[in-house]
Amino acid sequence: MKIIDIMNATEAEVLTGEDQLELEVYSACASDMMSDVLAFVKEQAVLITGLVNPQVVRTAEMMDMQCIVFVRGKKPDAETLTLAKKKGLVVLASKLRMYTACGLLFSMGLHGGTINAE
């Protein structure tokens, strides 16, 4: 699906990366603990999280992800957003709870991806 589909499904607002909403993404990962995200290298492109600080952007960047969806109405501070912009990431903010956002996106075909045995 495209990032714009994620935006529409989660009724999200785009905070940066407006020019990349047509990008195709194939899998996602959701957690509030960054080392859990870092534990499984998959080709996942989307990080869904309720945690807002610059380390979320760094984690996404280390994993070569393209899009962060902040849930539960959390909005990142200016520093976090500036970093995301610098990295060329798309940042979405949704009011949905994590479970709901994940459920919706999963049912639309955005799955967890296959784990690389690295």
Partner: protein
């Protein structure tokens, strides 16, 4: 230390959580520019990032020294923090001494050291309680 490689030294600030990870970021960008395989770049970046974060949240900062040679990336993370009493226990997935305020920042799942082991080809930890910790990581190219 090989002479036919690149050498980097970073001071990792223990007072600034927001800037944690900038050394790993620099290395990631360097490896990318060198044209190394994306999987190697990612493995290195994640392993170093976990170690860098550990120095910030558990040890009040430290230093990171990175050597890139034609055959490997070698990373040394050194701090003068509280040290690790039981390294085997600390390596266990899920084991963490991180307090609640660190967990609120998204760290303290107890996955960092095992991630570092998983993503590196060689990992060595030397630690002495109340003296500090030295972690060596090697990723083959």
């Amino acid at each position: 230390m090989q002479s036919d490689g690149l050498h980097f030294e970073f001071a990792v600030d223990g007072e600034n959580f927001a800037s944690a990870g900038t050394a790993s970021e620099t290395i990631k960008n360097t490896l990318k520019k060198l044209g190394l395989p994306p999987a190697t770049v990612r493995r290195t970046a994640i392993a170093m990032y976990e170690g860098e974060i550990n120095m910030v949240i558990h040890a009040g900062g430290g230093t990171a020294v990175v050597d890139i040679t034609p055959t490997a990336i070698e990373i040394e993370l050194k701090d003068e923090g509280p040290g690790i009493a039981d390294i085997e226990l600390a390596m266990r997935e899920g084991y963490s001494t991180a307090p609640e305020e660190i967990r609120m920042l998204g760290f303290g799942a107890g996955m960092g050291l095992s991630n570092m082991k998983k993503y590196s080809d060689e990992m060595k930890i030397e630690s002495e309680v109340s003296k500090g910790t030295r972690v060596l990581l090697k990723i083959n190219i």
